[in-house]
Symmetry: C2
Subunit: 336 residues, 2 copies
Amino acid sequence: MTDATPRRRATIEDVAARAGVSRAAVSKVLRDAYGVSDAMRERVTAAMAELNYRPSIAARGMRGRTYTIGIELPDLANHFFDRIVRGAMGALAGTPYQLIIAPAETGTRRGFRALEALVDRQVDGLIAVSPRVDEDALDRIAASVPLVMFGRLDTSNQYDVVAGDDLGGARLALEHLFGLGHTRIAHLTLPDEDPNAPFPHSGRLREYLAGMAAAGLEPEVWHSDDGTDFAYRATREAIAAGTQATALFAAHDELAIGAMRAIAEADVEMAVVGYDDVPLASHPAFGLTSIDQPGERMGARAVELLLERFAGRTTAVREVFDVELKARASTRPSAG
Amino acid sequence: MTDATPRRRATIEDVAARAGVSRAAVSKVLRDAYGVSDAMRERVTAAMAELNYRPSIAARGMRGRTYTIGIELPDLANHFFDRIVRGAMGALAGTPYQLIIAPAETGTRRGFRALEALVDRQVDGLIAVSPRVDEDALDRIAASVPLVMFGRLDTSNQYDVVAGDDLGGARLALEHLFGLGHTRIAHLTLPDEDPNAPFPHSGRLREYLAGMAAAGLEPEVWHSDDGTDFAYRATREAIAAGTQATALFAAHDELAIGAMRAIAEADVEMAVVGYDDVPLASHPAFGLTSIDQPGERMGARAVELLLERFAGRTTAVREVFDVELKARASTRPSAG
DNA sequence: CTGAAAGCGCTAACAA
DNA sequence: TTGTTAGCGCTTTCAG
């Protein structure tokens, strides 16, 4: 018992033995709990270091906290989500929490399995980025773990929400194109997007339809699966089908980038506006006009909301972030 | 005991009570273990469904498996890693394993904390993408969990390796530029990259230096932190400092893309070759010549190696994937 | 084929 | 201030 432990990881028991104290004492030091003398703290800390002790998260999970925050992401290839993660990690620095990402599977109920996996792993807090999950499932999840939903347009009293102003953003995009004289403006969005659903893209679509209608213009909606490649194909097909659109408002930048590929290849003139303002949008090779959503700040805020919940807040919070149009070459007459 | 459970999650005990069997029986059904009658399986399955039962991963972790595979990633913004994750998820489909991603923190020993966090969470298998971690730490980790290292140039008998042919890839890049008549070729790589270290970028740097030397040419190495933005700045500075380079071999595509931004802004002529062939490289806005590494296949293979370990393999495996040059506009004389 | 029971490493009362 | 102890939910012998 007192000689070097073999291969296996040191446990709290080993540390206690090494330091000549009880397990409870070690646990208290670990958790910074009240009632430990400096002398004991020192001995325990030393023993932990010598044994290279690391607490088992599974064992901790059995009793409560796992010091883990999970984030479900729909698409790793979308740089906007990278902005969110970066912000979240920044806000987590200095706390004992670890961030883990569960990538959403594709298909219907996209993100549902990832969310479940995270709940099964007893994360202390959960951030979900627009999963295609029904309200009931969300409420059920929120009942067992603090949840922050990204981009929901509606309000819940079960979970917190961090969102951008999707309606305002869509309006900015549309007005920008109107100001440039465009009247035949297409909108590229995801499949089966319902303008009345509470998702970000639904809001953008809704506002697009409303704005076109208000201007007495005919809407033209293209659909594609998520991702640059699918957007490329959808746009290629729209062009092949003889679209008369002179401008395109894409539901997010990755879609816009895919669309630009088809536009470049077909060598047609079409102004493009994206959404999110991913870093690439400002690259001179693209010069993509986009609606800037402050992803880093939104990610950081999501983490803060979780930390507040840990600290005891029980009322739901909804935070909406302003967005901003960044005009670039993709919507300047000469740029095509 | 027999009426509806309140708010709390159903446990194996609840299922057993509901089905009128023992906990052990439920556990066996859960794990598909030997020795359960069809009748019992059916009753148990029904009870699980009725109670919406999901096993606690933490409790399972206490006794062994967590059905979780962890992957440490250095940079979410790099699309090559997305290729890897996509491949890994594909290989995991249909297995009971869940993939979780731990993003590496920045700074020295980048990725170390993420790796530790994953080990603390008792993942069943670990995939690490070029963390800046010393051999000892890796061996220690590999002693407690099956580990697949991405991109290591050296061989280990503690862990498996999946890598691309970095030396061959660098040679392809260099010869391509030589063939175009370039003699002043710069190489953009990460800071403190040691040509003799066992990392992918080290190998690319080493081969670059060797190739230039063999051709009797003067090497010119630029350094930047990882990421498009840093590459942009480094390139801008190199240009401002009056580099005579007519071509640039960037250690990966994200760096190349950042460099192209500086090149475009400064309006100079410089051929660019990247590495990885991320989807964006073939976008007409870039037309970036790149070395294609089959990221999806590599990610899938990494998962397979882990599954083989779970199945009992104990000898270390090292797999090297061929790479291929994709010539595009960025290295055609007219493209700059 | 089924059940009883030990125990994984930790936290949190409660006692001393 | 420190120690004792009862579980948390699951897997896994070992009996029946």
